[in-house]
Symmetry: C2
């Protein structure tokens, strides 16, 4: 049996898992990133974490895979730019390869999560999936025939930055009307707060203790459950935005399944059932010939570990 | 040298080209489709056209590729549904294979054109291209690493049916706000006619002889060249719609080039220069790391012949 390290580099924690070639996670741990430090120290910590976990589990590593935030030059293992950890042109793969003397593969964190979900998570029965993570922003990962699709120079798969409403809401990327500006958790919070500002009698005020800064991604759903009309409209509008974006990706990729990740998905069927119903109506040519399932991602924070490990496996096997 | 037949099945004509393995078109011809006939007669005509062309050129065919309108089950060579020729579940590949006793591959006509452009046309220097054809509707084809991307059950790549304006213009597919409803030639004509209805003094009226039913895809561009303000606004708005959709596809696929086909592209730089400028501003992460060129497709009506032939080559080579 061969063993691989999958590392998920985040702004707060470095997480590492040891995964065997069949996809069993046999050990995992996390340490603080300390992102204010230089990249050499962070790379050293990443390498040592993988080494320690493998030693403790009495296995030898064959290769290492990494999911990192930002724009990644996968072919060269370079973090071209990451807003999250404030890196520019960091040769992360090479740094870790020099310490561990093992092949190292790097991809974007959303891509790693998509690959992980397609291998061991909600996407495991499908060859083609799209993962959309609804968080502070919207991350996207595309797996086609079991392989990541990253675009030229691995700069693609920016699903959050596709406009669904021309001249609409301002997005962090500079455009207006991006899917992210309507369907991230941040967007839902903004939509909830705006509705509250218009409706002083809404039960939403009670749910956040009278302070709109207490609104989170759950507030509107809680309000809907309490029967508040304002909240119901916020949730319905939000689901419509989500449906339009997801239907776009479905018409482009026609995957067997679209997986949703991020805290909002804790709503489960409350979110997924009306969402799938709407997307079904928007699928080009209908649902009969090539249906598209909407599923909740199932690996949570471990998705990136599995995906990074699979990336390492695929890289080694293709050499 | 091996030789292949590439057939482009249209609502009006069946076109066929004989292409050698290096991509040289050595013979071509077309015959009327006669789409009111049953599919067996049409399939027979298609087979005989390929056979006759090959015989006249004194070459032997190795395989046949076909681009057909509609939703195609490529794996089985079946036309699942075509509005254009009113077919449903037609086993076109098998029918032609039985007559010619050669391998037959079938794909959607827009896909065939994309493959042709990537092989012998404006996309020949790139591995990843997206072709968008602006006609009565909007066709899309995606070539990744030199191969067609068709989606699960070859039902993907419906680029025209992605919403860029929620609750916008009604689309033929049933949704509202699709890219096709803003950027097809049909859409430009509608936009021109609406602007004329608002502006009775516009020079556009003169350009179409006072009859709005004479408006075509060139009218607004001609009006712009004559300095008419109404026409300038129509063209600017149209280019903005195009740019938003193209930037979406660029952010998803990050191809080296987006190719545009269809009659409107005869405008050349008048269209392409401002379009590329706008798309550049909308690219996620800017243009520096992974630029995306906007080019005019160069093979015209022959794109589908080349692409269908390449599909046949790829199918034979992968077996």
């Amino acid at each position: 049996m061969k063993y691989y390290a999958g590392i998920d580099l985040g702004g707060t924690f470095i997480k590492c898992g040891i995964v065997d070639e069949k996809g069993n996670l046999i050990a995992k741990d996390k340490i603080p990133t300390g992102k204010e430090r230089g990249y050499t120290e962070i790379a050293r910590d990443m390498a040592h974490l993988a080494k320690r976990l493998a030693e403790n589990a009495h296995v030898e590593l064959t290769a290492v895979g990494i999911g990192s935030p930002g724009t990644i030059d996968s072919a060269n293992g370079v973090i071209v730019y990451s807003n999250n950890i404030a890196w520019k042109n960091v040769p992360l793969g090479e740094s870790i390869q020099k310490i561990l003397r093992l092949p190292v593969s790097v991809t974007n964190d959303a891509n790693a999560a998509a690959l992980g979900e397609s291998w061991r998570g909600a996407g495991k029965d499908y060859k083609n999936i799209v993962l959309i993570t609804l968080g502070t922003g919207v991350g996207g990962g595309i797996v086609l025939n079991g392989r990541l699709y990253e675009g030229n120079r691995s700069a693609g798969a920016e699903l959050g930055h596709t406009v669904i409403k021309i001249k609409g809401e301002k997005c962090t990327c500079g455009r207006r009307g991006c899917f992210e500006a309507y369907s991230s958790a941040t967007a839902l919070i903004r939509q909830t707060q705006r509705a509250m500002a218009r409706e002083s009698e809404s039960a939403l005020w009670r749910l956040c203790g009278g302070k709109s800064e207490n609104v989170d991604g759950k507030t509107a759903f809680d309000g809907m459950r309490s029967g508040d009309k304002t909240a119901i409209k916020v949730v319905n509008d939000y689901i419509r935005y989500l449906a339009e974006g997801i239907a776009n990706f479905a018409n482009i990729f026609r995957p067997e399944a679209v997986l949703l990740g991020g805290g909002i998905c804790a709503e489960g069927e409350t979110l997924l059932v009306p969402l799938e119903k709407q997307v079904d109506k928007m699928l080009f040519g209908g649902t009969h010939y090539a249906p598209v399932k909407i599923l909740r991602a199932s690996l949570g924070n471990d998705a990136g570990l599995y995906g990074a490990a699979l990336l390492a496996i695929q890289t080694v096997n293709s050499q």
